[in-house]
């Protein structure tokens, strides 16, 4: 009798344990992926950044030396950072503003809107390498379609990828190819704005440009904030297009920060140094994002949000 009870208790306990475990089993693929492929490498790279860590050979702890060398002795760090910032200064506003204009256009009730939406989003699903191949062909100095078209208009096109004055712009244009994603987010935002707001504005004689500036943009500001931040992040992570299109040249005019990290890691096999580079990039993105977020209280309007100062006079 007593053994039976003990057995029952044991099996019940086992049962309860399995019951508790079940949900974790279901989410385990994600948890494991996160631990091994995101959090793990993250922590690992932080540790690496304090080491002289060649791919083959002795690893030695060097403290903050990697950071020190990067900031004080390596001019390429500052050069590549400046190129990335220049790129971002073009890319972020163009990406957001053009994305917004496209979204506004595609939000009009005209024939074939669905087709246009698909066409504009299509580049965003093309793989980076294929995209770069297309652009290499477009930009080709002598045989490229872009210079051919410019030639038809009587303009002698520059050597887009070979001239340091034009190469960065060429990369900005090529990376804007993918603004379909931005457009899609803003288009969704546009469609959630009640149409009565526009009707009320129309009734009181508010012209179309003023409706865009005073109604659409404020109502869209949370989405705009999101696209500004993601654009900044993707500007700093710009690698594929430059790597494949120009390889950082000519005269290192398109030598992006991400490429600098890439070279340190996989060309010079300085893993510790590259890890330190990455952490600096992470900090820069973090600070920039926080600055944008901080500024957002002045220009982003959330439905349902009530600022403390406003609530106070209730």
């Amino acid at each position: 009798m007593s053994t039976l009870v003990v057995q029952d208790e044991a099996s019940e306990e086992r049962h309860r344990f399995i019951e508790k475990l079940t949900p974790y089993l279901f989410i385990s693929p994600w948890i494991l992926g996160f631990l091994f492929f995101t959090l793990g490498p993250l922590i690992f790279s932080f540790i690496m950044s304090f080491y002289d860590w060649p791919v083959v050979g002795e690893r030695t702890f060097v403290g903050l030396q990697n950071y020190e060398v990067m900031l004080t002795e390596d001019p390429l760090f500052w050069d590549s950072l400046w190129i990335t910032v220049k790129f971002g200064l073009f890319f972020v506003p163009f990406n957001v503003i053009l994305g917004l204009l496209l979204a506004v256009l595609l939000n009009q009730k005209v024939f074939g809107t669905g087709v246009f939406r698909t066409i504009f989003y299509l580049p965003s699903v093309i793989s980076g390498v294929a995209l770069v191949t297309i652009w290499a062909w477009i930009y080709s100095h002598e045989y490229g379609i872009l210079n051919f078209l410019l030639g038809l208009a009587g303009i002698e096109g520059p050597n887009w990828l070979g001239d340091p004055n034009w190469s960065l712009l060429a990369i900005v244009i090529a990376s804007l190819w993918g603004l379909g994603g931005t457009m899609l987010i803003l288009l969704t935002g546009l469609q959630s704005i009640p149409k009565e707001l526009y009707e009320a504005a129309k009734m009181s004689g508010v012209p179309a440009w003023a409706r865009l500036i005073y109604i659409t943009i404020p109502m869209l500001s949370p989405m705009l904030l999101f696209t500004v931040i993601t654009s900044i992040i993707s500007a700093f992570q710009q690698l594929t297009i430059a790597l494949l299109l120009t390889g950082g040249g000519p005269l290192e005019s398109t030598y992006f920060f991400a490429m600098y990290i890439y070279d340190n890691a996989f060309k010079y096999f300085e893993m510790g140094f590259a890890a330190a580079n990455s952490w600096v990039m992470f900090l820069i993105i973090l600070v920039l994002s926080m600055l944008v977020l901080k500024s957002s209280s002045a220009w982003v309007y959330y439905e349902g949000e009530m600022k403390n100062s406003e609530a106070a006079d209730d």
């Binding site: 707001l197 009181s204 508010v206 012209p207 439905e303 009530m306």
Partner: protein, 384 residues
């Protein structure tokens, strides 16, 4: 200020015809309601007047001007939307002044207009708030204020009270009426609530399936509905209706008979009718006009299925011997009970008769009712 003249207005969305030949003439300074069930076209008609819908045919005139092809802003019309349509990111002052400042109205004048409107609507202390921080009634005031500051020739209101709770709706109704008196401007009001339409309007347009079923004063609609639709739509509980045979006795009266009517009902006409068709007619009587009487005086009999006691009145649901249901309204203290056998009488002056096509015969109203309707009509005319 100006009246509105609508001629042969058509509007279709693709193949669906929503408005089919609307003719209306609204007088300067009038308060007119568009009343009808969902999908009758009342909101579309309002939006067509506003210029928010492009009409498929016909014309709209405001005062002396043909505004059919003008953009909304050029029409001198202000509209209050059902969900208020306040700009959520602007404070009340900005909401009121936004349109004005973009149309080059001087700052001093904007300030003056906003303050005046705010005073009229008692929202002066709310000008710094965002719509989010306002109650439903306050938002409604701001929406009306946005119309007032524009000083338009015509106000359009699209179910403006439907988002408010019952108590607030009644008090806002009273305020709207006094606002109309104060401003003296023509107002068109869309609603599906007949109480709102009846209490606010000098005249009501009843719409059904894109056509005007009747356009008249509230009492006219109630006591002299021109067709079956209006008869069934106006009044609560609904008018009782049943099929009858009609035979002309002479030029001014018709005898109504059916299996369930004992004897006949004599319907008195107010104008001579040449011919009465043979097909079955529809007889109508409002529940409050049905009398509970002794068997000898009755037209019909039946059993009481349910008594709903509302205090001031009781609604008695009767199953007639013919199997049809009928509702009678009695005084609240009437002792009638469920299961009772009752005998019903239909006073001649309260009977309605509709032709097989659903058109009303001209009925003879008692003197009191007639003078009431006439008084309302004169009042409506006086506004102009």
């Amino acid at each position: 200020m100006a009246g509105v003249d609508i001629k042969q207005l058509y509007k279709s969305f693709g193949k669906t015809e929503v408005l089919t030949g609307i003719d209306l003439s609204i007088r300067d300074g009038e308060f007119v309601s568009f009343l009808g069930p969902s999908g009758c076209g009342k909101t579309t008609l309002l939006r067509s007047i506003a210029g928010l819908e492009e009409v498929s045919g016909g014309s709209v005139r405001l005062g002396e001007r043909n505004i059919t092809q003008l953009p909304p802003a050029k029409r001198d019309i202000a509209m209050v939307f059902q969900n208020y349509a306040l700009y959520p990111h602007m404070n009340v002052y900005k909401n009121l002044s936004f349109g004005l400042s973009l149309n080059g109205v001087p700052k001093v004048e904007i300030e003056e207009r906003v303050q005046t409107a705010a005073r009229i609507l008692q929202i002066s202390d709310l000008l710094k708030r965002r719509p989010r921080q306002l109650s439903g009634g306050q938002r409604q005031r701001v929406a009306i204020g946005r119309a007032i500051v524009r000083d338009p020739k015509l106000f359009l209101l699209d179910e403006p009270l439907s988002n408010l709770d019952a108590g607030l709706r009644v008090s806002m109704r009273v305020e709207l009426a006094s606002l109309h008196r104060r401003l003296g401007v023509t107002m068109i009001y869309v609603t599906h609530d007949q109480v709102e339409a009846m209490t606010l309007s000098s005249r009501v347009v009843v719409l059904n399936k894109g056509v005007v079923a009747q356009f008249g004063t509230p009492l006219e609609l109630f006591y002299a509905p021109q067709n079956l639709f209006v008869a069934g739509f106006i009044g609560s509980p609904k008018m009782n209706m049943m099929k009858v045979n009609a035979n002309a006795i002479n030029e001014m009266s018709i005898a109504l008979t059916s299996e369930s009517i004992s004897g006949s009902i004599s319907f008195q006409l107010s104008a001579p009718v040449q011919q009465v068709p043979e097909q079955p007619h529809t007889f109508g009587i409002r529940p409050e006009n049905v009398g509970l009487v002794e068997e000898a005086e009755s037209h019909m009999s039946g059993n009481v299925e349910l008594v709903e006691r509302l205090g001031t009145e009781s609604q008695v649901h009767v199953r007639l011997d013919s199997g049809q249901g009928l509702t009678a309204v009695t005084r609240g203290t009437h002792p009638v009970n469920m299961g009772d056998r009752v005998h019903l009488n239909f006073p001649a002056e309260h009977c309605h008769l509709f032709s097989p096509e659903g058109e009303a015969y001209p009925r003879k109203l008692d003197g009191e009712t007639r003078s009431l309707i006439e008084r309302q009509e004169t009042a409506a005319l006086c506004i102009a």
